[in-house]
Symmetry: D4
Subunit: 211 residues, 8 copies
């Protein structure tokens, strides 16, 4: 464990008891901690047992830390773009992870391709970011459009939003992997955490550059 | 067979001999005819045996008729939009079918999402059309973008252009079926003919409307 | 938002609170509104909070408007054909959407291919329509049969009705995309809304034709 | 090996040498023999080496026998129905197998669903048969239509005819397995032989019934 | 509806109210009736509302008739073979359907390939049947083994019994369609009804044969 | 590289030049070597350039060694069972690999489930082996049958033999993984080498057991 | 049933009543018995009805025996390696099965590839085992890494741990079947029992070797 | 087109004539150019028509430029890691693209997981890089192992190397997307170009950082 780096717990597949136990353990080690993919049972149990834990309903996440995470020098802005309402939990998981890892975050939500003008109205946000995370379900076309507008690293997160032949995010994943905009890195369906983790490792390059 | 309506032959899976035979038969009945999906062997054989047949290399099609097809009154423009070079054969198959069926056609080629500005520069073409056919491979995002810009009937044709997880057009097909732009009708992969056929039946509504 | 055009909300993946909130918002703007894919919780909540909202149980939809939608001049009939009992919710979603968008609708239900004579007994309904929507699950053969009987635009909606290798509508979707009847436009599984939206844009051509 | 029952060789995956060798062996045992799925190389080699072998080009089959197969008492007619030109090789493989096994065969070709009236014009053929084999590619809807018209055993053979999402016959297979007409037995894609084999075992029931 | 032929209702996807309503309707027409795929709610509701209905728990079926079905002259035995305990509901659905349609039925249960000797110990049952239905999940090998032992019509029913890559019956389905034993007719996963329906139409040949 | 252990080269995806080069290199190191998956070009080139190399046509393999491989003490017999003619190349690849690794090999070919009696006639061979490799395409049922007859380690190799929904070996693979006979280890499609490698590591246990 | 060999019951798909009944039956025959895949209802019912039954919560298993299983002479150690917390139920099912079959078991848990150093720190455990079982979900890379480190029989069990394109264990299964480390035998997803069964049959070779 | 930035042509799906034409056009504009996925026909034609073009056989690429690309200040090393011989063309395509875009490149080839020690022996190369590209076919486990060893951005490229259930790279793709090592960005199968493009956009961050 690196100094200051938060511990991350994947709530998915863990019992509320297990999550509480790990949270307490890490807390005692005086370490910031983030738990993702927490269902209602986990959230309820943690709220009761560890009142100082912060619950992030929409993101289905829990955080626990003593001192607010400081943004290290040299970090650029990470822009988190999402297509529709259903993509919000994944977007918020990414945002929270980015913040816990010390990244300044900008959000641009609800700019799906069906109303593409909203994206263009916020063009300066795209220009202002160092790394972009694009989160979309259904056909995932938003990643291609964003990728075509910037020359910066774009990380695409397909989400399970949709029905029928969206196949729980597979259609969006395939769309993103086949994007005609070159150089988009794709992560697993709904994996907001993974995208943020990668964005952070990219963003830190600015920090490590010998001036 | 309706009066003036061309006969259509699917070359795929037919021997050059079979295609020549059918072409001659229909020609003798003095009927316009269109053969699609003709490979090199078919084209060579037909060129030799029926010199008056018109070869459309890029479209992989053959036409044969006595009098040029007349555009019936009341028909609107059909706009055929395609994403990249690889989509041209499918686009041209659609164009040819539309023309043989008596539709005025406008083309807008090479406006893939990676260079989306080219699409916007031609926005008036979109406004000018009655029906739009969007042809794209890879992730097929172009259909969503076009669908978001107009309120007219949009027919989407996924193409087998791409590699890896494009799965010979499946990714584009799924993208189009899941489009966040409402009301796009999708046809089989590479089926330029089917899209044109549907566009024609839509366009004819203008003709049939009692004034 | 175009004048008189209803707002459409996709209930799927929204909480009852979210749906109520949006409905109230749009209602205050004095705009007709249609909510699709509303589950029991949404319907219950809306019934309680917005008593003037109209519940359409079978269609799983909610509508809310002040003045009944007027059918614009020049609109033709849209015929909604369905195969079996299980397809009714999708068919009714299409019907409701069509009506909210100002289309005269005719229904022809329960005419699956296993009892094909019922379809033929209603042949005049097919002749009488301007656009046809065919809704079927299992193997989806109804679309091919209808497509073979008419020269009009046919929109096919595969449904998730079936079991085993129906794969929740995939078999019907593939059947419709591969239809040997040319020129059928296909939408996503269970997407009655999308089919109606496309049918409306086609039907409006009659309206827009310059006389 | 039962008395009079022909030996069957699957040519697929065998070298011309292997096929010739087996044919000679069986011939020496004075046994009727049928070789299916024979490619050009096999056919050429056999023609040269065993001139008395009968080549069935369209069916891609070879037969070799001394005395013409006799149709046993009690056998009914097997009707082989096919949808389009591309299905002919599979249909002919079925016909040949049926004949080699001693079944009277009736053919009804080119009655695909897009021109369904041709099927109805031959309705008496359906009534006249004891067992029906339906052979179709693309969406395979023909099986459902036939199954809805008769109460007799129907065996469906999906073929690899089609392109795009026909997935080499998979779409037709799924269509047939999901048929809303009850009681259709399905065999592997392009398996005309297997369908004929099953039809024969059904037809023989008539023979075996104790009067 | 043919004289004496039972009405069949597919319970799957119907509400208890709908099933009760149809049952009462058919009963009033004095017609035998079979309802398949009835879940607990349907069974409970029917038990209460129509006490004379017969519940078949294991088969998940309901029957309702006045006079016991008579077995017509000329019918042979149908043997229903199943592999394991999990296949019983499908097997019993087939048995019940066969009986309602007037077929003498023999059962041979729990003879899966892992203990193949049990099948051989009952070899005379195989010889005694006119038609065989083989019901198996997991890898479905039982169909191949039975098909290799008899020359009679074999109908194979894959079941959704299994886990992991059984893919809810897909593995068994593929196994049966690829069987190296020629001439097996396959129906949809868990479709005991369809297999019985086909077996009945085959068995009736014996009845219809002109003596 | 362990003493005496042969080097193995995967010919698939290598040019003839590359294979020749590696073969010469290893030969110079005086090491036995086996090349698998060698196509005609590789075989031709190697025959010409390294005349002392041994070509195994059917197995598509090449071997090259100075001293014949000795069978170490304590090794048991490995029985290689295959279903049909098409499986022979895979079976022979397994046999050759086993021999190069120092295992006594017994063969039992052409015992597919459609003629299951041939397997039973050779029952003593099953009893006599220490490890069994079962190689089958199509539905792969042979693995289940063999697994049900013995308590020894069974390794199953699905082959790409078949057509239609055999999906190039996928059906056989799924069948083997779902086998109702417990404890069968499965390898990749057509991977005779891998099965032999595993069988050898199992067989060597006998050698390593401290007596 | 061999002397001393435990009876094994698959709880999956059985009612609590069925499991209790079988357990009592086998117990009366004075036979050790293992029930796998037991859900909460089964466990509760068995605890109440058969108090002497031993419940293994984590493994979802139940055992029942009179005398502790003795480890036969000649058996080596089986090492059960697992990647993460989610894999524990499968790992414990394997361990329990191995023990019931008389194998000495060593465990090496939580050594997933993301923290590969933990595996290397326990290298001597790998050297000490006769057979290895590797249990992993997600991408299943652990099997390849372990397979590359040892020359012993490795059995790989993919688990359904993961989300998105883990497809409930399919990704891990494919990874293991494609492993670049030669000679890994793979079993069905989550099939800890099957892996243990195979490991036992391998381990017993040591026992059977004639000294 | 940005100053100095090379034009990139995808050779796949283009005729030799088309490639030559585009190459000449760009060359005349005095712009560096890279053509990827060039088959033998393209390479031959270009060699003849544009002798100054540089052919990269292994990478299947062609480059054409006047002045050698300069590496801009602030760029870090990109490490390209590959698993086996078959992955070389993809690796070389990545290397060439990186160089054309002005990145210092380090190579680490042939370090597949089956011989993992080779990777560890080169650990300092991993430490020395700013961005890592991991290229592997079969099960793609190499990406997980590398991702577990470093905290830097890792881009994974699945390749179509393998056979059977490698499904032309799908297994590797799924493995990489499911990696238990957090924060790996994945591109399409065989897309060495895309990975390099993304790596370059990441590497340039160092350049753009305001010091
Ligand atoms: N939402 C998430 N999606 C994918 N991986 C995650 C997620 N949250 C946490 N992880 C990973 O899971 C690890 C923790 O797993 P565990 O030890 O099972 O709690 C973290 O170090 C992350 O690498
Ligand atoms: N049943 C439906 N299926 C597919 N799309 C729908 C459906 N109902 C509404 N939509 C689309 O979803 C949009 C509303 O999405 P939202 O803003 O998330 O409520 C509408 O404008 C429609 O384009
Ligand atoms: N278990 C079943 N599986 C498949 N089809 C069935 C089943 N039970 C009944 N059917 C078919 O469904 C029809 C009745 O459908 P419905 O009118 O919706 O009740 C019957 O006539 C049968 O053809
Ligand atoms: N037929 C085969 N199938 C699968 N793997 C093989 C085969 N033949 C050889 N191999 C493996 O491929 C390795 C050699 O690969 P290479 O260094 O590319 O020649 C051998 O050590 C084996 O592990
Ligand atoms: Mg870009
Ligand atoms: Mg639109
Ligand atoms: Mg039509
Ligand atoms: Mg029928
Ligand atoms: Mg048989
Ligand atoms: Mg066994
Ligand atoms: Mg190893
Ligand atoms: Mg890392």
């Amino acid at each position: 464990l690196r100094q200051g780096f938060p511990e991350v717990i994947l709530g998915l597949g863990k019992t509320p008891e297990q999550v509480v136990e790990i949270l307490k353990l890490v807390k005692d080690r005086n370490h910031p901690v983030l738990a993702t993919r927490c269902n209602d049972e986990i959230i309820e149990k943690v709220s009761k047992e560890i009142p100082e834990a912060e619950i992030h309903e929409l993101a289905r996440c829990i955080t626990l830390y003593r001192d607010k995470v400081k943004i290290p020098e040299g970090m650029g802005k990470v822009l988190v773009i999402s297509a529709g309402t259903g993509d919000l939990p994944v977007a918020e998981e990414a945002v929270l992870t980015l913040q816990m890892l010390g990244n300044p975050v900008e959000k641009l939500y609800d700019v799906g391709v069906a109303g593409i003008h909203r994206l263009f109205e916020n063009y300066e946000k795209l220009l202002d970011a160092r790394v972009l995370i694009v989160i979309a379900g259904m056909e995932g076309a938003l990643a291609s459009v964003v990728g075509g507008l910037v020359d910066k690293p774009v990380i695409a997160v397909p989400t399970s939003v949709g029905y029928g032949v969206s196949f729980n995010g597979l259609a969006a994943l395939l769309g993103m992997l086949n994007s005609c905009s070159a150089g988009i890195g794709v992560v697993n369906i709904d994996n907001g955490f993974g995208a943020a983790f990668l964005a952070n490792s990219i963003n830190r390059i600015g920090r490590n550059v010998k001036k």
